[in-house]
């Protein structure tokens, strides 16, 4: 197993000691009845202190599993972390004991989940649930933790927190509950906040508010943010750097401007083209042809080749790896000479793509 030394372009560009999280060649497999699903299949990236990165891809591409692996929240078995390192502040989280890992969870790394409706425990007040984490990690008394809970609710823009703190989750709306989740996640001043589709289950207007809130608290507290989403609009508004995932791999990285305005990977390009835009009324939506490959039977070469409009000979034979590219910002034979392939790459520059065009 080769451990790539290079990481994402943005991380390298500012190489220094401010790297907070570095994931190296992470592989998370699920052993199920029908075989093995390689949900995360050799993912490497890093997050600097205070950085915001977006992890983008369609459902089932391994985004959430990547996050849950970092938090070590997967049930093992059926999950297996087959290889990799997750270096957080110099320590490999995968080698920590369960006890040590608990001090990281909720304290150093906090997580917000997709479903605010079901992510809070129905039988406890929101105050109880926030105070629980505070008491655990900050060793505060019950009273102090309760006050801290009120403060956290105030900090996420909840009116009348003294009253809300005593309410049960079912008394709050979805947007309000997501605010509570954010308050809970931020209550212990984490260094990294992982938000897994935090706005997907919410109304569009509430989505905007929650995104605004996440950006706002991120600015205020300086916590690093890893935003997982399938929504490129959310990414465009919220993050600086983007990782695009496809079938368990990172296929493209770069600043949000590079990736969204001038994507390299045909998959990213397809994603952008499939966003509905104004002036498209009455036309069919653009889609990426074909379907996500069967996880039990991945194509031999590039995972995206069967759906790729630019696929050429090496794509069916050789598996492109992002860390072998130069610069390592895209996993595609259009940009990198295929090893041992007599066919030269069709080196293409970044070029602008019009959304929905």
């Amino acid at each position: 197993m080769t451990v790539p030394t290079t990481v994402t372009a943005p991380a390298r560009a500012s190489a220094g000691n401010d790297v907070l999280l570095e994931v190296r060649d992470l592989r998370t497999y699920f052993h199920v009845l029908d075989g093995t699903v390689k949900a995360v299949d050799g993912v490497s990236f890093s997050v600097r202190r205070g950085q915001t990165i977006g992890l983008v891809g369609e459902s089932g591409c391994g985004k959430s599993v990547t996050a849950l692996t970092i938090m070590r929240l997967l049930d093992i078995p059926p999950a297996e972390i087959a290889s990799g390192e997750i270096i957080f502040e110099g320590r490999d989280l995968l080698t920590l004991s369960e006890d040590e890992m608990r001090h990281v969870r909720g304290n150093d790394i906090a997580m917000i989940f997709q479903e605010p409706m079901t992510s809070l425990n129905p039988v406890y007040t929101v105050g109880d649930q926030i105070a629980e984490a505070v008491m655990l990690h900050q060793r505060l008394s019950k009273k102090e933790a309760w006050n801290k809970a009120i403060e956290s609710l105030r900090a996420v823009g909840i009116n009348n927190p003294e009253r809300r703190v005593k309410q049960y989750p079912h008394e709050l709306s979805g947007g309000m509950r997501q605010r509570v989740m954010i308050a809970m996640a931020l209550s212990c001043d984490p260094k990294l906040l992982i938000a897994d589709e935090p706005t997907t289950a919410l109304d569009v207007t509430i989505q905007a508010q929650i995104l605004e809130l996440i950006k706002d608290v991120q600015d205020r507290t300086g916590t690093a943010l890893m935003l997982i989403t399938h929504d490129l609009g959310v990414v465009a508004e919220t993050v600086h750097d983007v990782l695009v995932m496809y079938a368990g791999r990172i296929v493209e990285t770069g600043t949000v401007e590079d990736v969204l305005l001038a994507p390299k990977h045909p998959y990213t390009e397809g994603l952008l083209r499939s966003i509905p835009s104004r002036g498209m009324k009455g036309q069919r939506l653009n889609v990426i042809k074909g379907t996500v490959p069967n996880p039990f039977n991945m194509p031999k070469g590039c995972n995206f080749a069967p759906r790729c409009p630019y696929a050429f000979a090496p794509c069916a034979e050789y598996d492109p790896r992002i860390e072998e590219a130069n610069p390592p910002d895209v996993a595609c034979w259009l940009y990198t000479p295929a090893p041992g392939s007599p066919i030269p790459p069709r080196i293409r520059p970044r070029r602008p793509v019009e959304v929905g065009a």
Partner: protein, 334 residues
């Protein structure tokens, strides 16, 4: 909350009213002649006619029912047609025995069922889970009286570990105050007798508790497994809580909800099962009394016992529902 309780109690009235009609009809449809039962060999047509007139059995059924209902409303549950003793007096003497047995069975079923269910859930799909499932399948399949007899034969007669008859050693004499053996023995200052009473309680409790044990085990297992997959359990883990705290505070607290309801519903089954269990273990309670009453065609006793049991069942489930409100804040009784 008070309003809810009052409403629930008021809601019990039509249930009891309906039950009184069913019971009345049922008793009058039963084959058998009260004359023969009461007069026995002294039965003559003349005596029988006099008795029927005295008991009002010649009146139309509606008149008989209204008379019955009237006495119920006055709190008069009737008297034995055999010895004319008031139902309530006799019932209250025997009921503590049934309560003791029912509570014993409940302690056995809940005390063992919940840990077993949690164990099976934690090791779901393993051999341990299989063993627990097999035990509960056994418990639910075997009739109370069969299990009772097997326990008597094995642990009483065969091994001689535990007594199999009565509530306390019949040779011992002491004053009964409350008719609860476990309380009376302590009131009498006789811990040795208390131990004896507990020993008498063990086998009947196991026999009676086997079905509730099976049900509680399975419900606990299913409930714990279901709750374990809830998003909020993942949230709790993501907070960095210990597995133990996640288990007790976040999983069990929610898993309790369906288990509580089922425990309440089991009380009905326990009261019914007590009839059989008391017969097998010669246990001096309401159940055995009712079996005797059925044999003697002493229908007032049967009728009133069923009515009182139904009332108890309603009250227990009301208590469970109120308890449920404390466990589950989503329930608002307004």
């Amino acid at each position: 909350m008070i309003r809810y309780i009052v409403r629930r109690l008021l809601g019990a009235i039509p249930v009891l009213f309906g039950l009184s009609i069913v019971l009345f009809a049922f008793v009058h449809l039963l084959p058998g002649d009260p004359c023969s039962a009461i007069l026995g060999q002294h039965r003559t047509e003349e005596a029988c006619a006099r008795l029927r007139a005295n008991l009002g059995l010649d009146d139309p059924l509606t008149v008989q029912y209204l008379r019955y209902l009237g006495s119920l409303l006055r709190g008069d549950l009737g008297a034995s047609v055999i010895n004319n003793k008031p139902f309530l007096d006799e019932f209250l003497v025997r009921f503590p025995g049934t309560i003791e047995l029912t509570l014993g069975a409940l302690v056995f079923a809940v005390g063992l069922g919940i840990p077993l269910g949690r164990l099976a859930a934690r090791h779901a799909q393993s051999w341990l889970d299989g063993v627990v499932t097999a035990i509960s399948l056994f418990g639910i399949s075997i009739p109370v009286f069969v299990l009772g007899l097997v326990l008597v034969v094995v642990f009483g007669v065969g091994l001689g570990w535990l007594p199999t008859q009565g509530r306390i050693d019949a040779r011992l004499r002491f004053e009964s105050v409350t008719n609860f053996m476990l309380i009376d023995t302590l009131l009498a200052g006789r811990p040795d007798l208390f131990v004896d009473a507990v020993r008498h309680l063990i086998l009947p409790s196991i026999a009676l508790g086997s079905i509730p044990l099976a049900i509680i085990t399975r419900i606990t297992r299913a409930s714990v497994i279901e709750v374990s997959h809830e998003d909020y359990v993942r949230t709790a883990r993501a907070k960095g809580l210990t597995e133990r705290r996640v288990d007790e505070r976040h999983i069990m607290r929610n898993a309790w909800l369906p288990v509580t309801t089922v425990i309440g519903l089991q009380v009905g089954g326990l009261l019914a099962g007590a009839v059989l269990t008391e017969t097998v273990f010669v246990w001096n309670g309401v159940g055995r009394w009712v079996v005797d009453a059925i044999g003697n065609r002493d229908l007032t006793i049967v009728q009133s016992t069923i009515l009182v049991f139904a009332l108890i069942f309603l009250v227990v489930n009301l208590i469970v529902d109120i308890g449920y409100a404390f466990l589950n804040p989503r329930i608002r009784y307004a």
